[in-house]
Every structure is written in C-alpha cells, then in structure tokens.
Amino acid sequence: MESEQLFHRGYYRNSYNSITSASSDEELLDGAGVIMDFQTSEDDNLLDGDTVVGTHYTMTNGGSISSSTHLLDLLDEPIPGVGTYDDFHTIDWVRERCKDRERHRRINSKKKESAWEMTKSLYDAWSGWLVVTLTGLASGALAGLIDIAADWMTDLKEGICLSALWYNHEQCCWGSNETTFEERDKCPQWKTWAELIIGQAEGPGSYIMNYIMYIFWALSFAFLAVSLVKVFAPYACGSGIPEIKTILSGFIIRGYLGKWTLMIKTITLVLAVASGLSLGKEGPLVHVACCCGNIFSYLFPKYSTNEAKKREVLSAASAAGVSVAFGAPIGGVLFSLEEVSYYFPLKTLWRSFFAALVAAFVLRSINPFGNSRLVLFYVEYHTPWYLFELFPFILLGVFGGLWGAFFIRANIAWCRRRKSTTFGKYPVLEVIIVAAVTAVAAFPNPYTRLNTSELIKELFTDCGPLESSSLCDYRNDMNASKIVDDIPDRPAGLGVYSAIWQLCLALIFKIIMTVFTFGIKVPSGLFIPSMAIGAIAGRIVGIAVEQLAYYHHDWFIFKEWCEVGADCITPGLYAMVGAAACLGGVTRMTVSLVVIVFELTGGLEYIVPLMAAVMTSKWVGDAFGREGIYEAHIRLNGYPFLDAKEEFTHTTLAADVMRPRRSDPPLAVLTQDNMTVDDIENMINETSYNGFPVIMSKESQRLVGFALRRDLTIAIESARKKQEGTVGSSRVCFAQHTPSLPAESPRPLKLRSILDMSPFTVTDHTPMEIVVDIFRKLGLRQCLVTHNGRLLGIITKKDILRHMAQTANQDPASIMFN
C-alpha cells in the first residue's frame, strides 16, 4: 500500500519535472503570508561559518541567457554534496526513495547500450544480495571471535591453562582423563591462580588468593574496556539498540556505525563480558552487525549514496546480529521486524532472512562452544507439560512483567541522574566501582561467580542421572538398577535446598547490579542478565512446584498427572519460561522473543507456555508503563524517533501544531525568481531553519516547492566557484523560465535542480492523527500546511515529536537537538 503510494508520488515528481511547470497543483496555491519554521541544530553554525559572502564582482555582461530548459537537468549536472545530510539530522525517506528510483531508471535505460552497461546493471541488481552476504559473513566471524575470546578471558579470572595458554578451562581439560564424575572441570593442566602463586589448591589461603585475583582481573578488564571506549570510540558504549532504532527510523549519527566503533566495540565487548559485570553480549552484537552492514554498504554505490537504501541493509544486518547472538535465524528476522526496523518491505525481509542464514552458518562452522551449537545454553527437552502448569507459567509471566516495569523505572531514574548531575562526569570511576562491587559480591556465590551464559545453561539443564551439580542433588531412594526413560519426581536433598538459597541471593544480586550496570560506558547488553534473572526465578518456582507435586500428589490438580514415580515437572522448563518472561517484560517483545526462545530449545511443544508467559509479562508490564526499555532510553536521550507502535489519539488539528504560532513573526520564504544571491545568503545567515519553501511571488503566495538549506548553501558555493558571472546581485531563479531581465544585469543563477517540487502538503484542518500517520508511513521530514491554497506554515518531524510529548505531559524541551 505504502510503496504503491510512493510509486505514484515518484512518478508524479518525475513527470512534473519533465513535462511542464504549470501543473494543476500550482494553480491551487494562492498567496498568503508565508511562514516557515525549522529547527536549528548546531550544525547550522557550521554552515553559517562556511558561507562567507564572497567578493562582489560587477560584471555587466551576460543578461542574454537562453531560457530553454533542460528536461532532465536534475540528472545532468548533479552538484556534489547536494542531497546529503548533516550529522544529527533527519533524512527524508520520500526524497531518498525517489532518488533511488531515478538512479535505477537511468541504469535500466542504459542497459541496452553495451555489454559493459549490462554488466553494471547486473552488478547493481545483485549488490543488495552481495552486501547482505558480506554482512552476514562478517558478523558471523566477529561473533565467533567474540565468543571464543570472551570465554577465554572469563576463565582467565580464575586460572590459566599451563599446557596451552590460549585454552579456556573447558578446552584445557578437553582430553583429560583425570576428570571425575563429581568434579568435571578439574584437571591437572588447569591451574588456578592460587595454585600458581602460593602453590596450594585447597584451603582458606588459596580461596583468598583466588578471590583477590578474581577482583584484580575483573577490575583490570573493566578499566581497559572503559579506557579504550573513552580514547578511541565513545560511541561504542551501551547496548546500541536504542540508537540503531533511531538511525533506522531515519536519523543520521555520523560515526556511530563506523570502523572504529566496530573495532572498539568488538574488542571491549569481550573485556566487558569477561570482567564479570552483569551484562551480556547479545545487544552489542546487533550493533556490531549493523556496523558491518554500514561498512560494506560503502562498497556499493547503490547503498553508499542513498540513506534510505542503506537502512534496508542495516535492517538485514540487525537480523544477522540476533541470529548469531542467540543462534536463532528466524528469531533474528522477526526481531528486526518487530523491534528495530522502521521501514521493512518484503525485499528486506528476504534479505534479512538470507543475512541471518549466512551469519548463523559461519558461526556454526567456527563452532565457538565446541557443542556444535550457536549458543552455550542450548537445551533440548522432550518431556511433556501439563495443563495445570500453565498457572505457574503465568505466575512467572507476572514476575517477568513486574521485573520489567521495575527495571525500566529504576534504570531510567539512574540514567537520568547520570545525565543530569555531576555524577555523570566520572564515567571511568563509575565503571570501576560497579565492576569492583560486582566482583566482590559475585565471587562467594558459585552461581554468580559463573559466567552468566553458563549460569543460564546450568539452570536450563534438566536433572538427569548424569548431572552432578548441587541443583540436582535429589534424594535417590529409587532402585538404581531400574532403567526408566524419565527420572521421576524425587524429594529434594540438602544440596538442592542450599542451591535454592544461593539462587535467591544470586537473584537479588543480579536484580540490583543489572539496574546499575545497564548504561555504564562499556558495551553492555541487557538480554543475558534479564534472562538470567528470569531463569533463576523460574528454576526456583520449578523446584517448588516439583516438590509440591511430590509431597501432595493427591491434590486434585496433581492427581491426574503426577502419580508417584511419574516425571511430571521439569524445573529446567520453568527456568526457560521465566527467562522468556523477564526478557519480555523488559523489552516488550512478543513474537520474536517466543521464536528466539523456541529456537534455543528446539522443542515445538513449549510454544504455548512461552506464549502465555510472554503475553502475561507484556500485559503486566504495560500496566505500569507502555514503553519497553529501548523506547524509554530513546525518550531519555530525546532522540527524534517517531514510534510506529504508539497511537496518537488527540483531536488536535494540523493548524495547532504547525509553525509559526500566532505570536511568532512570519518568517522568510524564497520567491521563485526575484531574489538575488545576496538575499538568499542573508536569509540563510539570519535564520537557522533547515529549509525554505519557495513561492511564486510575495503577492500571489503560490507554492512552488521546497529548498533545503544545506542544498542551497552548497549550490551557491559551487556556483560561485565554477559558474562564471555569479555575483551577489545575480538573480536566483527557481522557475523553469528565466524572467526577462534588464540587459546589464548579471547572469541569473538557476537552482531549479535543487528544488523539491513536490513537497507534501496538508490543509490546516487535517486532524493530527492523519498527519502523524503520514509522517510515520512515508517517513517525511517536513510537511507544508495550506489554507484555501495559501501556504500557512510548516510541520516538521520534531514539531510532531514535541507535540506528542506535550500531549503526554512530558517536557517537550527534552527532544534532542532543539
């Protein structure tokens, strides 16, 4: 629907260019006080500085310009720089898509000319697939690198493999036959730091030594990470998903997806994960993949010159990122669709699918965990679940929703503090303190000392006869020789009870630390800590329900399914459902989350419990606040992001939102043929707006088009340099036909090529609901408001954002770059 509309729009624009200037649209416009308003940004100062008024030549020749128009002057002589954007500006999707269509048409028309042109057009057609392939390959390889290096560095905190320094703990004991059933991870090749330094493996002395070394390594990794971020690429910190959402919605942040950001994010992500902070690598992997997408899109002119097309690649790249982060290709595509992407045509869907596939394939062949899986915590259950279990699952969903609401509130409050008070001036110190507290508190508890992914793995794993951890320390009074398929429910042993206590402490610890960790200036993802919290809670609930069913198997709910000796409760499944619920509560994702978790487990039969838990957590979370953590961070930072999910329900009209307001002075517009270069430069210097409507004349006030400030500046500058006879008193002509000028006047400067002749217009009585919809669906940057055909004012994306903030009783001044 949308693209069809766009197509027509592009078509009109083109025909408009080439056929005649007196189209019927123009007749409708009638003169009036023309007003406009654009939000300034700091970049404008830069432009102001650049546009020095040049020396004035007075040349008296050249009034005789042929007025024959170039039919396609837009295509013939593009001025370099026109059509690009400044940092922290919003792109105009409609313009970008029209540009791409024109480019495509040009290539297609040349196709028949020669074999070389044919090859070029083929290359152009294939470049979309090529760029997503490269992106997938790169993100898979980088994810493998991050996984392997992070595992190694995590284990470096506790010891080192003497036989081969590059092995992590598990790899070190890979071929060892000295491992025992109870202590599987002990082998003589792996030395803890206490063994190396003070020479004893057991005892309080070695415990203290290990403790000290753990804290030492955690602190040094964290310090290294934050200093690398601070020195080389400040944009590499954080999770990156809020910013990527904003970028995909059509915002420019230069350098955010650059090479240095990519390298530093990859490097420091490993350090941050290894330092034991309560963070994950999944969110930053999306950023890493998007960096790859952006970098590779520079190889292909189709994508490097067009911001809208580039965003299609980035959508695909984010799918690849999730695909390698969770080993869930389909979940990645859905994540891209549900959570991050703004404009997602079907073509992008297929490309995302392909990128996710390539990335997953590469990661699988690197095999970073040695388990032939893409993630560490892959599990496979086959035990069925029963209807009455939906009740605990829904309880877990409620917990997830409450956790999500609490986390969002607390984290945003803390981040606001960081943003607004002097506390934010010490990012390095903050990271060090958080890392120190985390390390000191985490070491004594075996469940927090573990790498979070390993913790999740342990919680997800069901207790079979092969497990020896204390979580599986059930009293075993069954006849051991009886071989059964399922392990029946058993009474919990002492180990399980102590494990539950430790898990409760770990839960509290994780909840507190995650609130303070998310947002510190190292790469930090949220998925893994959230999942860990949910998994801990879920496992505790699971064990509780299991014991309940064991001791009260005559209760009517258990009667039917849980007879003595039957295996009816799987605590690992509860952990999984809890993880999904907590993640859902924090991010408010639904479909993609269920698919991601389902791909993690490979069991189709658990979709219903997962859906129930995720849906409940979303409802409960939405009851406390509608936004997920990413939207909350977008709002906190004031990024100009027009959320497509949000509904606009107010009854305001376009006239209430447009600028200028009644009290504002009517501001300058350009007339199509009786302004001089000096006039325009003065206007650019005096105002700070990003664009100017062009009207026929002050008297008639009929709208001709819209010219962007940046384009005007560049065009005038290049005309002064290249085009002889352009002086301050030259007429600037936006019309098709040059007006008749006195003979001695300087040659006019024709700027029709930079004029957008199909600016979007609405009438002043259009309800804002429709205007907001137009902005969202078409990705407009600005829209002109008319009344009886007279140009009245302008609505920009930022006006809409400000208006929405106002109606939601928020501070409209918080929108970024006012």
């Binding site: 071929g175 080389f232 059964v484 930072n637």
Partner: protein, 289 residues
C-alpha cells in the same frame, strides 16, 4: 546437524516406553537385517552407539563387533572439517575488504591488513589436519548399583564413539554391560584448536596494538607535538563550545602532498571526530546516557 548433541531422547533408555518419545530405534532395532545405516546416517554419537548396542544384543558374544557399515559418519566429519576451515579464510577476506572500504582510514586499514596477513598465515594448518587432540568421545556414566559415576574420555572416531569402545576397563561383569551402557551417554565432540589459537592471538595482538597506540597518544604525542596552531585553535574552539567547525576547518585545510602528511591529516581528522564524540557522550550527555 546433530553431531555431538547428547540429548535425552529415546535413544538412550529405549527399553521402557515411558513417554511418547520412547519410540526410539529400540523397537525396530534388533532385527539383524535391519537397515543399520538408518542410525548411522544420524551423525549423532549415541545413535550409532545404539546401533552397535542393538546389534550386540542380537548376537551375544564376547567378541562381537559392529557391522561393517558404510562410513557415513566419517565422511560427514570430513566435510565438517572443511566447513570449519573455510569460513575463517572467508572472514580474513572480509577483513581485507573492510580495510579497503574507507580510503581515509589508513590506520584501521593497516591494522586490518595485518590481521588478514596473520590470519592467512595461520589458516593452512587448520585445513591440513584434524589432529587427534581435536576430537574426543566423552562418555558420562552415572552411578550404577555400587559403582560410582565416571567419565570416560577417548580419542576415537565418531563411528567408534559408543560405550563399548570408550568405557575401558568395563567396571561391570559381562552380563551387566548392556544395562550399564544404556545408562551411559556418549558424546562425540570436535573442536578446532587452530581456530582458537588464531583467534586468541589475533585478539591479544589487536588489544596490544591499541594499548600501545593509546599510550602513544597520551604520553608521547603531547611531548613531540608542540602546542602548535592546531591545539591552540582547538582550545579556542572549546571555549566556543563548538568543535565541529574545527573539523570543518581541518577538512578544508591545505592539501597534503606526501603520504606521511596525508596520514597525518587523516589522523588529525580522526582525532577531532573522536573528540567530538567524546564531548557528545561524556560531557554533554546528549547520547548514550
């Protein structure tokens, strides 16, 4: 895709049909003429282990040996090996391409090229051999009667990865072997030590290079660079709260001629960009807070 996946599916305890999944190979297995390749073609360790197991159950005898089945597992593994080696060189290629992507990024390009060279030097050994330390068959046997749990670990090919080949010495008498082995779970796993080594070496060298460069920027650079026009201008601009115009000024600065000057210019530009980013993120808290 299922290699090495030691799982709880029916293959392990097939004797009793407990759940719906227990429809394992158990019911069909003990026919001597049964298509053994059916399980063989499942490249999972336990699948083949079970095939042998079933066969053995049918032909009781001390010297029973698995049927000479087509070595599908082996060939699969061979393919897996190539696959494991290929993406690495692909990633190296990518690094090179990534380096070419931005002509202005001389430094990062150099670094990436270095990575590429290091990578390509180390890749061939990965393809050459799958050394014996890269594969293992790990059998976990839970406690059984009065025998405590044990882990057996051996270097055997995937085809031989089953309880009968790996568990040595067998802790139970002959008639109990079958029951004991049904409890054990054997997993065939493989890894690429070369990949691990290469990745760790690359990672550490990149971190080392960055650290050196950081030290250079912080200690040496201010010493050798006198407070010249550039820093002065920077200082002035800082007061104006707008460093972006400095970036612009540098962009339009005098064209450098030699390669060294161009590198220098690129470095200066990059420094300004980073400084600007640092201001946005750390000082003004406009982003990422």
């Amino acid at each position: 895709m299922r290699e090495g996946g030691g799982t709880r599916d029916g293959g392990r305890w097939p004797a009793l049909s407990g759940g719906p999944e227990a429809r394992g190979p158990a019911q069909q297995a003990p026919r001597p003429g049964a298509p053994v390749w059916l399980w063989k073609s499942r490249p999972g360790g336990e699948g083949s282990a079970f095939a042998d197991q079933a066969w053995k159950a049918q032909n009781p005898g001390p010297s029973s040996h698995p049927l000479p089945v087509p070595e599908q597992g082996g060939s699969l593994r061979g393919r897996g090996c190539c696959v494991a080696a290929r993406p690495f060189s692909a990633s190296v290629f990518l690094f090179q391409v990534g380096g070419l992507a931005g002509p202005e990024s001389l430094r990062s390009m150099k670094l990436l090229c270095l990575v590429a060279v290091v990578g390509s030097l180390l890749v061939p050994p990965a393809q050459a051999n799958k050394s014996s330390e890269d594969i293992r068959c790990k059998c976990i046997c839970p406690p059984y009667r009065n025998i405590s749990g044990h882990i057996y670990n051996q270097n055997v090919s995937q085809k031989d990865c089953n309880c009968l080949h790996v568990v040595e010495p067998m802790p139970v008498p002959g008639h109990d072997v079958e029951a004991y082995c049904l409890l054990c779970e054997c997993k065939y796993e493989e890894r690429s030590t070369t990949t691990i080594k290469v990745i760790i070496v690359i990672y550490l060298s990149v971190v080392g290079a960055l650290l050196l460069y950081m030290a250079f920027l912080m200690l040496v650079d201010p010493l050798i660079r006198k407070p010249d026009a550039y820093t002065e201008r920077l200082h002035n601009e800082e007061e104006n709260e707008d460093a972006r115009s400095v970036a612009a000024a540098t962009f339009s600065g005098p064209r450098a001629n030699t390669v060294l000057e161009r590198v220098e210019g690129a470095q200066q530009r990059w420094k300004l960009q980073v400084q600007e980013q640092r201001k946005t993120v750390f000082d003004r808290h406009k982003m990422l807070s």
